[in-house]
């Protein structure tokens, strides 16, 4: 399966037109993402995302009615 096939599957999944088998495949693929232990886990050493939290709350207040 190549990237374009996968993208098509994801689109069908998002549009709600995927068959049961296709749904299973997309969800299985999604769950498998990030399961491998590798250098990606260095995020563990990044301190809490205080800046991001403040940014989100600030951005929300911009939408206030």
């Amino acid at each position: 399966m190549d990237q374009n096939q996968l993208k098509k599957l994801i689109k069908k999944y998002q549009e709600g037109t995927a068959s049961a088998a296709e749904k299973f495949v997309v969800e299985y693929w999604y769950e498998s993402l990030g399961q491998q232990k590798n250098k990606d886990s260095e995020i563990d050493f990044i301190p809490d995302r205080e800046n991001l939290k403040q940014r989100i709350v600030w951005a929300a207040s911009e939408y206030n009615r």
Binding site: A20, F24, I56, Y63
Partner: protein, 189 residues
């Protein structure tokens, strides 16, 4: 848990953000492999929640709701036309898993039925060979059991593989390549 409005006011929202941002960002980062994009997705997710807060009712644990929302965000992200090279690499690295998942699917679910359907359309001698191969008999043993030359059994066996593959692909053209992978698990021993 009773259904309840997720966010009534800005302090509910702040609490939600403070409680879940770290975990969601970590999940997004692990899935897409790019921290900046992961943060953007999480921010998007929360802002959407805030905008639609009057209509968001949660039936179960809040984290499950957020996890599914994040999954939708990430799926959309992957479905987008242009992806950066690092994200593409991430996507490519997981494609093998998709094929494996198909193998599991085909073995466990509806295709089990399909498979027996296909088998029943094969000539008797091929069905016998398939059954014996599945019981781990060698071609030589099968030849003896059926009173045929080993070369003949080999020929039948190759023809049987060809037919099964053609019939499977005819029924499921969308998985043509993956079916080939599956057959290598099921048939080549």
């Amino acid at each position: 848990m009773k259904p309840k409005l997720l966010i009534k006011d800005i302090s509910d929202f702040e609490m939600l953000v403070n409680t879940h941002t770290d975990k969601l960002t970590q999940t997004a980062f692990l899935k897409i492999g790019n921290l900046q994009d992961a943060e953007d997705l999480v921010q998007d997710l929360f802002i959407n929640l805030w905008i639609k807060r009057d209509s968001i009712v949660v039936h179960g644990p809040v984290y499950n709701y957020l996890y599914v929302s994040l999954r939708n965000k990430i799926m959309n992200y992957f479905a987008k036309a242009k992806l950066r090279q690092d994200v593409k690499n991430k996507l490519a690295a997981n494609l093998e898993v998709v094929d494996l998942s198909l193998v599991n699917l085909l073995i466990e679910k509806d295709l089990n039925t399909l498979f027996s359907e296909i088998l029943s359309e094969l000539p008797d001698h091929m069905q016998k060979i398939f059954k014996l191969r599945n019981e781990d008999f060698t071609l030589k043993e099968i030849a003896v059991a059926l009173g045929l030359a080993e070369q003949t059994v080999k020929g039948y066996s190759a023809e049987m593989h060809r037919r099964i593959k053609a019939m499977l692909i005819e029924r499921h053209p969308e998985f043509a390549r993956s079916l080939t992978v599956m057959l290598s698990f099921l048939l080549i021993k």
